[in-house]
Symmetry: C2
Subunit: 304 residues, 2 copies
Amino acid sequence: MIGLSNYAGVMEGVMNSAEEQQASSPLTNSWSNKQESSENPKSNGVGGFVLVHAGAGYHSESKAKEYKHVCKRACQRAVAQLKAGALAVEAVAAALVELEDSPFTNAGMGSNLNLSGEIECDASIMDGKSLHYGAVGAISGIKNPVLVANRLLNEAQKGKLSAGRIPPCFLVGRGAHDWAVSHGIPSCPSEKMATKFSLSAYKRNKRKMELAETMETGQTKKRRQSSENGNSSGCLDTVGAVVVDLEGNVAAAVSSGGLAMKHSGRVGQAAHYGCGCWAENACNMNTYSTAVSTSGIRLCTLHK
Amino acid sequence: MIGLSNYAGVMEGVMNSAEEQQASSPLTNSWSNKQESSENPKSNGVGGFVLVHAGAGYHSESKAKEYKHVCKRACQRAVAQLKAGALAVEAVAAALVELEDSPFTNAGMGSNLNLSGEIECDASIMDGKSLHYGAVGAISGIKNPVLVANRLLNEAQKGKLSAGRIPPCFLVGRGAHDWAVSHGIPSCPSEKMATKFSLSAYKRNKRKMELAETMETGQTKKRRQSSENGNSSGCLDTVGAVVVDLEGNVAAAVSSGGLAMKHSGRVGQAAHYGCGCWAENACNMNTYSTAVSTSGIRLCTLHK
């Protein structure tokens, strides 16, 4: 098992300049990478910065190569966006799409299945320039939940709806799905989002759960386990990214399929305002720009 | 139109001692009430304190009497619980049930209808002693959403589920409804939760929206209104309460039917961790106990 997979790319004129930074210790390495790479993003004429991670949980060592590759692709995709003049919020969404599209991450395609054998995803995105925020929770049948969160953010920036109604910034469940489809984001059959790996993990977890419940029934109806019996499904393996664009704006995003065998309708921190991600440009009140994408840990704080 | 309806009750041995405190200015009055009544809850042998409000939006003056009555009943119900030895979190849930049961508040019975003509509620509760939190978002067909939030909090306090699974603290939509029913909370047909008032408000809002959209189409496809066109549906009229029990524990809760004509699946701040309510007992790190129930405003901070 390996720890956090992360990847940082600093724009230096060529796409392949992104430096691979595999963390042996998730917290300490992502922190030192960040400090070295971003203390002054513009000091050497470099105007953009991208940092992505493919999950704070634990991953199979056999898939280490895949995790590194998807991080690299996500980083490159965001860098390409920045080079084309995109703002931080657009670039961070592009990075997340790449992470969600990988069948190896617990986000979008290949997400954990819930108790009912369905995929329900959480995602959120924040723009440090406008401080606007968009999030979806327990959304099914959408390949890229971060695109719905981003669309919510964009729509909210347009102002009020007809008759002075306040636009939503957080939608959940069926309503979130329907809103996405009505805004041009295509539906994706849930069975296409499950992978061989996620389906076999579901079957394994279900057997484990049934066995545990049978044993509990046979004992003194002790329904709950001790805290030592951890969830082996790789909890907290949320994916995320933070970006600084050429103008120095920051953005952050996060996406997760949530805990394996969670109850239908459970929303995790990836969709919570102020919990899943945060981005805030420097201003008169703040000396520093901040962009954070969490998975139960602080991933990064970027200094302006 | 009248402003915030609130009510405070300090236990003095008799039930009817609760003092009616109608705020002429919601922010300033609820603040001064709090300071006078709770600076030291035990200083005169009084061990409990309850403060409730029936909505931070604007209410029809014709219903002022009803709002005061429901606040009084909610306060009395919580005080009765405290007298019977209940903890703050149980008493605050009891107060919220009374507020939700009133057809005049935008919570539980008589909540605002959404765009599809359905009722979807948000609620959350926090126990200052354990710091446990429970919330539901966009839940339909449950008369008292706060009871589901409270049950989530209670279940989480029991520890992990079978096979080491982490219990949910925030459930939304259909999943939240099904979890509630499977935990003994009865379903309530949505048509029974709508009132004559909420149905006529829905029809009025729908006509207004359609008229606004027709006018916009006739103009230059200006889809959005200026920020001056406020939502006349009494936005932010969330109900809530804060309680101190005989042991000095604090708890807070909040419940809302959300914005009128909101999109299906929209979750508002009442269900957001750290946004809808907060409760935290005093400890070595904190000199003060804090209990807050928000509706876009800070309602109350209680000093130990």
